[in-house]
């Protein structure tokens, strides 16, 4: 009996021991998976403008929300540097999640990826991207890259502009003329009159596109309309500037919500996001204007015969303001190096090549449609845009707009809690349009969120 009990105890210890070994192996495995920090082949004490030489035969992975440039053009970079490029396209929303998930777990994700203008404050705080000040002469580049400061926070340059982009007003001139609108509306009052006239004539029953889906595009739209009313949403200390009914932000939100409720905007737009509106409404001639469109859409969406019914009809117009043209707000994409990148030298070489004057112009159509990046809005450099004059729709107008475009948050840049702020903005404006809350409630909710975010940061 004793023997049997002793034997049973012996057998009982084995699985416990084995389970402990398996668990230990598991912990080591998971820890190993999460601690791959990669290696950096570049020195942080480099001279600005002088880049470390990449290793020939090495490769870099670029993860971005634009399609890959043509293989033949990428091959030119490989021939130049010996570095092979693996380009992975991931949608913008998913890409932001992947960046956050990879960085939070300190895992290699890509050698180069998107740095959105709105994330710069957040990335400065989280230290997820390698500052580029040591490698690029930012002060010199600024004269040719007007939006380069959008990617700096506290003097740390976290990315270089991948493109240039800013909000701009577009108008279908054919629809406008058919409704008797013969002069370009210069002020918001003129613009409202023009929209009402188009609606009244029945040319287009719902002439204005505002993307009321609860998404980033709705926030961006509000910032631009606020700028048109002569203001901004937060001051330099990130205090709300939109709570008073006489403020620009309040008026802007009221204008947007009223436009929806009065039938200037299609009812379906409560679930329509920004690009969806451009492609399924503006490009199909179902609306006549987008107040806060994105620079480059005329060439990349509205003038594309295979998908657009309004080819040659849509023009950029100076964004109507209170008494004159309003400023246009910058919302460019940047390209940066995550701190977990494995081939920093290769990544730096790629940034330099990709943002070069000639190359930026090629992405937008300098060498013809075969070498463009599909959907690429505008070159980051003024010199590239100048190369495109007479080659790309509206290049001359866009060049001047690029030089005068201004950041959404002048001075300190986007706050580190921008994501939560934008979440509150688009959620509450959506709710106000859907009739679930008033503009006053929406404004109060957003302001309350700002107060909380400031207190907790």
């Amino acid at each position: 009996m004793t023997h049997v009990r002793s034997h049973t105890q012996g057998r009982g210890a084995a699985p416990v021991l084995l389970a402990l070994v398996v668990l230990a192996a598991l912990v080591v495995l998971v820890a190993a998976c999460g601690s791959s920090s990669g290696s950096s082949s570049a020195s942080a004490s480099a001279t600005p403008g002088v880049l470390p030489s990449p290793s020939p035969g090495s490769s870099i992975t670029v993860v971005y929300h634009y399609p890959a440039p043509p293989a033949s053009v990428l091959a030119q970079f490989t021939a130049l540097t010996g570095v092979k490029v693996n380009w992975v396209e991931v949608g913008w929303d998913n890409l932001q999640t992947k960046i956050a998930a990879a960085a939070a777990s300190n895992t290699y994700f890509a050698d180069l990826t998107d740095v959105d203008w709105s994330k710069v404050g957040q990335y400065y705080k989280t230290k997820w991207f390698t500052p580029l000040n040591s490698y690029f002469d930012v002060a010199t580049l600024k004269t040719d890259m007007p939006q380069i400061n959008t990617f700096a926070s506290n003097n740390q340059q976290l990315a270089l502009p991948f493109d240039s982009s800013f909000t701009v007003t577009t108008l279908n001139t054919k629809i406008a003329k058919a409704a008797g609108v013969t002069t370009t509306p210069a002020t918001i009052t003129d613009y409202n009159t023009a929209l009402s006239q188009i609606k009244a004539k029945g040319t287009v029953p719902t002439p204005l596109d505002i993307p009321f889906a609860a998404a980033e595009g709705l926030s961006t739209y509000w910032y631009q309309v606020t700028a048109a009313y002569g203001g901004q949403v937060l001051d330099a200390s990130y205090n709300p500037l939109f709570t008073s009914p006489s403020s620009a932000g309040y008026k802007a939100m009221t204008w947007m919500v009223n436009a929806y409720k009065s039938g200037l905007v299609p009812k379906a737009n409560i679930g329509v996001a920004d690009y969806q509106g451009f492609t399924s409404e503006m490009a199909q001639g179902r609306v006549a204007s987008v107040f806060s469109d994105y620079a480059g859409t005329v060439g990349s969406i509205y003038d594309v015969p295979s998908t657009s019914k309004v080819v040659g009809q849509v023009q950029y117009i100076p964004t109507p303001g209170v008494s004159a043209a309003a400023p246009n707000l910058a919302n460019p994409d940047g390209i940066g190096i995550p701190v977990t990148a494995k081939n920093v030298a290769g990544a730096l070489a790629f940034i330099k090549w990709f943002t070069d004057t000639q190359q930026q112009a090629i992405w937008a159509g300098l060498d013809g449609p075969s070498d463009v990046i599909s959907g690429f809005p505008l070159p980051a450099r003024v010199s590239s845009l100048q190369l495109l004059t007479n080659k790309v729709s509206g290049a001359a107008e866009l060049t001047s707009l690029l030089q005068t475009s201004r950041p959404v948050f002048p001075g300190p840049g986007a706050p580190p809690w921008y994501s939560q702020f934008s979440n509150a903005v688009y959620t509450n404006i959506h709710q106000a349009a859907a009739g679930a809350e008033t503009v006053q409630q929406a404004v109060n909710n957003i302001a309350s969120q700002v107060t909380q975010l400031k207190a907790s940061s």
Binding site: A25, L26, K125, A215, I270, R286, T427, A434
Partner: protein
């Protein structure tokens, strides 16, 4: 000789033989451990920490994540929405699943074809289904508006998703019901097929009608299958994400608790609160599952 003999003459298994079952099980243990056990432990622990890369360092914060979640009006709204998702999802998928299972139980030439058609929605990815249904619900071109208008049930095209909260949730959940009903049907069908035919024959001899047989024999004896199907539907409805995201984006009117978890974790980068909300969702799943099992499940022996 397959084993050594002890002094008492008993066969003692070799050491390798003693460990073999555990060695064979270890890949599965490793797999489950890596994908379920380890994340569960991390989630449980981190739910009591402030894990926010924008506001470092990671630090113990007790119940503050849970308190913040309770105070967050969007979390409360998404919790209420999720309850509605669960009610609609569990009720409809179980009801439709039972009906389909009863149809499939009958011997018919078309049984194979019907089974294949029924299973099809289950085989499709949720995102694909949501996109397809998005076209159906589309306020401008959608088939739903077109059909309802041609039947004279509506005068003009409606915006179905995004305006009314209840309508949005019911329509979004219908897409999920369409996907999860096949699973419920198969689970109930398996339970139906285990009911001995002799019981029905005896009932017929006693003069029982179809309804009486369904009520007195089928329904009581299919309860284990119903319970499992309901628990499956509960888990899937409580975790609804893809359909909500594709059809309604981040609009709070239809946001589910999983969408809110995603927002808090990956948009707001407040991983601590994300862990806490995941933990609460896990507990809710367990409690509701136990409740369904207690109410619906009955041990059946033939």
């Amino acid at each position: 000789m397959s084993g050594e003999r002890s002094r008492t003459g008993r066969k003692r298994p070799r050491k390798r033989g003693r460990f073999l079952p555990y060695i064979l099980l270890s890949p599965l243990i490793l797999f489950i451990g890596a994908l379920a056990l380890y994340p569960t432990i991390v989630t449980t622990v981190q739910a009591f920490f402030t894990v926010d890369p924008v506001n470092p360092p990671t630090r113990f914060s007790g119940l503050s994540n849970f308190r913040a979640l309770v105070r967050n009006p969007f979390v409360r709204q998404s919790a209420a929405n999720t309850i509605l998702y669960i009610i609609v999802g569990v009720a409809l998928s179980t009801l439709f699943g039972l009906v389909i299972a009863l149809i499939l139980q009958r011997r018919s030439h078309w049984r194979g074809l019907i089974l294949a058609l029924v299973v099809l929605p289950w085989a499709l990815p949720a995102v694909v289904e949501a996109v397809i249904w998005g076209w159906i619900y589309d306020p401008t071109f959608g088939v739903l508006n077109s059909v309802l208008k041609s039947l004279g049930l509506i005068n003009s095209y409606h915006v179905w998703i995004g305006i009314g909260r209840i309508v949005s949730i019911v329509l979004i959940e219908l897409v999920q019901v369409w996907q999860i009903t096949p699973l419920a049907a198969l689970l109930i069908l398996a339970a139906l097929q285990s009911i001995p035919q002799e019981l029905y024959e005896a009932a017929r001899v006693d003069g029982a009608g179809r309804w009486a047989m369904f009520k007195r024999i089928t329904l009581p004896l299919v309860r284990p299958g119903l319970a499992v199907a309901m628990v499956e539907s509960l888990i899937l409805s409580l975790n609804v994400f893809d359909q909500v995201y594709v059809l309604n984006g981040f609009a709070p009117g239809g946001a589910s608790i999983m969408l809110q978890t995603y927002q808090i974790s990956f948009n707001n980068l407040n991983f601590g609160q994300g862990y806490a909300l995941s933990l609460l969702a896990t507990f809710a799943t367990m409690l509701l599952s136990l409740l369904i099992l207690a109410v619906v499940y009955r041990r059946v022996e033939f």
